[in-house]
């Protein structure tokens, strides 16, 4: 007798590194994590087309922000540290 599967939504993650803390500013980095066993991301030598140009583009496409970037400079404001401001977004979806 076969069991009926009831797939549960799983969390897809999107890390976007934006030029400023504004959701309208352009993004400088993108990492998309799929809730699939064995999934990995990797740096590529060939240009990849990104699905979004801004954080707002991703929101329009159904992503929800789960972490906003910290806006306080952690060290003296004359220094440079990470590239861009990190937004973390999620989509809860049934993923096959």
């Amino acid at each position: 007798m076969s069991q009926v599967k009831n797939p549960q939504p799983r969390q897809r993650l999107l890390y976007l590194h934006a030029r400023t803390p504004s959701v309208y500013s352009g993004i400088l980095g993108l990492t998309q994590i799929e809730p699939v066993a064995g999934h990995k991301v990797e740096i590529t030598a060939q240009d990849e087309e990104w699905p979004y140009e801004t954080v707002h583009d991703a929101i329009v496409d159904g992503w929800q922000i789960v972490q906003f970037p910290h806006q306080q400079a952690p060290i003296a404001d004359r220094d440079l540290d990470m590239v861009g401001y990190e937004f973390i977004l999620q989509k809860m979806e049934v993923v096959n």
Binding site: Y15, L28, E42, I43, A45, R78, L80, D81, M82
Partner: protein, 266 residues
């Protein structure tokens, strides 16, 4: 390491080239090596089973001819002074076929400096194609005091440059530049020999082909293509960062360049 009396000025950088390095953090040299040298070095490296570290020069003596190229000495003299030193920190970096990517990192711990103190020289004895796991650098990141662990959520970054290069390429990179590699999906070993060069004395004067007229022209907006160093320092924005970061970059680059001019020597 340089005999200033014998090094021809033709191999030194000019003011704009020095400023360009300060802003972007890398320079690609295509060496004119004796015929067969790249192939001989690559074949010897193919036979290696473990990294000999500094002994790599004994295993592949051809590498001495690489670091002694006039064009290499010219760039190092220009950026690190006439008394620059080739350090003993040498490594064979081999990306074997089937090797995955290497995450972004800065070498060593994050004690970054606005001074130009250390450079890496990356020699590629074999053509590197996109599928061979090229080194990938992110221009303009070398003044960022960024712990490597915090780079773990970055994958591709706008402005990253894969070093898809010809055999005999020698890439000079700032020691603190963000770098990684892509996966090697080819059937060929990708070799790279890493050399470390270091400044031994602060500059009291420029050590490149310096022309004051190419430095001290005032910057004017809309004239970004003007061939002068101050413009190169101000206009380069290889990452496309925001205004706040870009202003900080300009300030740091200017301090670095002025130090190279010898303006801050005690």
């Amino acid at each position: 390491m340089t005999d200033a009396a014998t090094l021809s000025n033709e191999h030194l950088l000019d003011d704009v080239e020095v400023a360009d390095f300060v802003a972007n953090g890398y320079r690609i040299l295509e060496l004119e090596l004796p015929e067969g040298l790249n192939e001989a070095a690559a074949l010897k490296l193919d036979e290696l089973e473990q990294n000999p570290g500094d002994e790599i020069m004994d295993v592949v003596p051809e590498l001495w001819q690489v670091v002694e190229q006039e064009v290499v000495k010219g760039v190092m003299t220009s950026l690190l002074g006439t008394d620059f030193a080739l350090m003993s920190h040498r490594h064979w970096h081999c990306r074997q076929p089937g090797t995955g990517h290497m995450q972004w990192h800065q070498d060593s711990t994050n004690r970054r400096d606005i001074r130009l103190e250390q450079l890496l020289g990356l020699y590629y004895p074999r053509d590197v194609s996109a599928d061979m796991g090229p080194t990938i650098v992110v221009p303009g990141t070398h003044f960022r005091n960024a712990p490597t662990d915090r780079m773990a959520t970055y994958t591709n970054i706008k402005g990253q440059i894969p070093l898809i290069v010809k055999a005999g390429t020698f890439a000079v990179t700032h020691y603190d530049m963000w770098h990684g590699t892509s996966a090697n999906r080819s059937g060929v070993k990708r070799h790279m020999i890493k050399f470390l060069f270091r400044r031994t004395k602060d500059n009291t004067a420029p050590t490149w082909n310096h022309d004051p007229a190419r430095v001290d022209q005032p910057f004017s907006y809309g004239d970004e293509q003007a061939a002068n160093a101050r413009t190169a320092l101000r206009s380069a924005n290889p990452l496309g960062v925001s205004q706040s970061d870009h202003y900080k970059e300009i300030k740091i680059r200017t301090e670095c360049f002025d130090q190279l001019l010898g303006k801050t020597a005690g």
